[in-house]
Amino acid sequence: MIETRGLRKSFTSRQGREKKTVEAVRGVDLNVAEGEIFGFLGPNGAGKTTTLRMLATLIVPDDGTATIAGADLRSDPGEVRRRIGYVAQGGSTWDDSTAREELILQARLYGVSKTVAHQRAERVLKGFQLSDYADRKCKTYSGGQRRRVDIALGIIHEPKVVFLDEPTTGLDPQSRAHMWDEIRRLRAEGMTVFITTHYLDEADALCDRISIMDNGEIVASGTPADLKREISGDVVRVGLPASSIAAAAEALEGYKFDTYDDNVRLYVEDGAVAIPQILRALDAADVPLGTVELHRPSLDDVFLTKTGRSLRES
């Protein structure tokens, strides 16, 4: 449904007299299958939004090719626009308009008649449980309601693919869960959904497949389960005072681990067996022990092994 090869974009910004070129996206290859929820996971500034905006025809790539829903991005952006929906991160509704007015206008911008536009607006309002507030001004909506209007606007023309840029950022936990259900419903209706997120749990729970992006590049791709399986075994996290990290690193020679400001993470075959050995080794080296946690590898651990940084910290 979406196929890209070597997508690139850099921006030139001026700081005083100096020109600075930032390579926001450096060669992205993607294959998104029809009818899946595909996620772009990465920290802020990784290039997720830039990639999405290129695919949504809002910015022209410097290099690379992309085919979206059968239309070529470079040679026929107009056709791409007809086939996709795009929901920006910052919202898209006007304070003084009502949801219904916005939806009808949006539908009509895609060329449908007034009657059809009214019917579609009615249908998505019902689908997104917005009927009760449909004729109130957007400024009176809650954050979650407004976000649902944004998404409704993005799919009013029944696109094959919809891009959602950070659809749940800024929502409270309840609205987030609600939004996940809405996104799954879009998939059930046959749409291909492409989301960006910097939430690990969102990528894990919602997405069929993900690509992890960092610093303008994709560092790993696959289903969340496969990616986690790549890191075999368990993760043992030992909390330590910062001053003891160096000593701990020395004592743990032979283990596979990463060190952080206040903890060490070890990747082991079997956590239950490894913990006593680890504690003994640290104790022998006179390292003062804090907390010990055992967990299954998370997407954060995947990110960590690929980039050397934790997504939580970046």
């Binding site: 921006f11 949504a56 025809t57 809002l58 910015i59 022209v60 107009g78 626009r81 007809r82 996709i84 929906g85 795009y86 920006a88 910052g90 919202g91 898209s92 509704t93 006007w94 304070d95 003084d96 308009s97 007015e101 206008l105 949006q106 009509r108 911008l109 895609y110 060329g111 606007l153 023309h157």
Partner: protein, 251 residues
């Protein structure tokens, strides 16, 4: 065909929003009305004319052109608010014509300017101003072209600078000399030669002269067609440029 449909879609939405708060049309007309009531009476002796009607014949056209210039130049603020709300981006991912995104808005500005012009003209009638309907309609055409041009320029600049903080001083800097050099408040017949020479390079000065000729009832004066032509050409250029800004990819 699609272009016309797109323009009317955008225009209707903008009109709908404008009419939801029609008070802004009145707010916009408040300042010129003050000029009309509190400044114009000074003009009879200053211009050396014998009746109020003559003074208004000179002053009202200038005032209307002033309204068209300023009204248009400050429309960009609304667009920056729309940019911030994400409305423009939302439109840009649809197949809607980019020219329509501009013209739908600019035509709304033209309509609201003409509404204001009518209010001012009616008030001036109370002060014994008399003008032929045909000439008045041509004068309104001139105003429409001016406002189309200035609002397009304002939208184009708004898309480039994307911030109110930059737009306000920029527009003021442009508007101030344009205003002074167009003989809007007082005709430049009183100006020293060098000032008149400079003013000849100000297109709005031609527009003001043309509009004054129309209010005078001098339809045959070359000022009329020259003013209309200059404004029409500039309006086309401004629209073409601003529409390109709508189409250009923004970060």
């Amino acid at each position: 065909m699609k272009l016309l449909r797109d323009i009317s879609l955008i225009f209707n939405r903008q009109m709908q929003l404008l009419l939801r708060n029609p008070v802004w049309i009145l707010v916009g007309v408040f300042q010129p009305v003050m000029y009309l009531l509190l400044f114009a009476p000074l003009l009879k002796p200053a211009l050396g004319v014998s009746t109020d009607a003559e003074a208004y014949e000179i002053f009202v056209p200038g005032l209307l052109v002033l309204l068209a210039i300023f009204g248009g130049l400050f429309q960009g603020f609304g667009l920056i608010a729309e940019l911030r709300a994400g409305v423009i981006e939302r439109s840009r991912v649809t197949p809607v014509s980019r020219v329509a995104l501009l013209l739908g808005r600019s035509l709304r500005d033209v309509v609201s300017l003409i509404a204001q012009a009518v209010i001012i003209t009616l008030l001036a009638l109370v002060f014994d101003l008399r003008v032929f309907l045909g000439n008045l309609l041509l004068a309104y055409l001139m105003l429409a072209l001016i406002s189309l041009m200035t609002s397009a320029v304002s939208y184009g600049v708004a898309l480039v600078v994307k911030s109110e903080d930059a737009l306000a001083p920029l527009m003021n800097t442009v508007a101030q000399p344009v205003l002074l050099l167009s003989g809007i408040l007082l005709p430049l017949t009183f100006a020293p030669g060098w000032l008149q020479g400079v003013a000849d390079w100000n297109p709005f000065s031609w527009a003001v002269n043309g509009t004054r000729a129309l209010f005078r009832g001098d339809l045959g004066a070359p000022d009329v067609w020259q003013g209309l032509l200059i404004m029409a050409v500039l309006a086309v250029l401004a629209v073409a440029w601003a529409a390109r800004e709508f189409a250009r990819s923004v970060r």
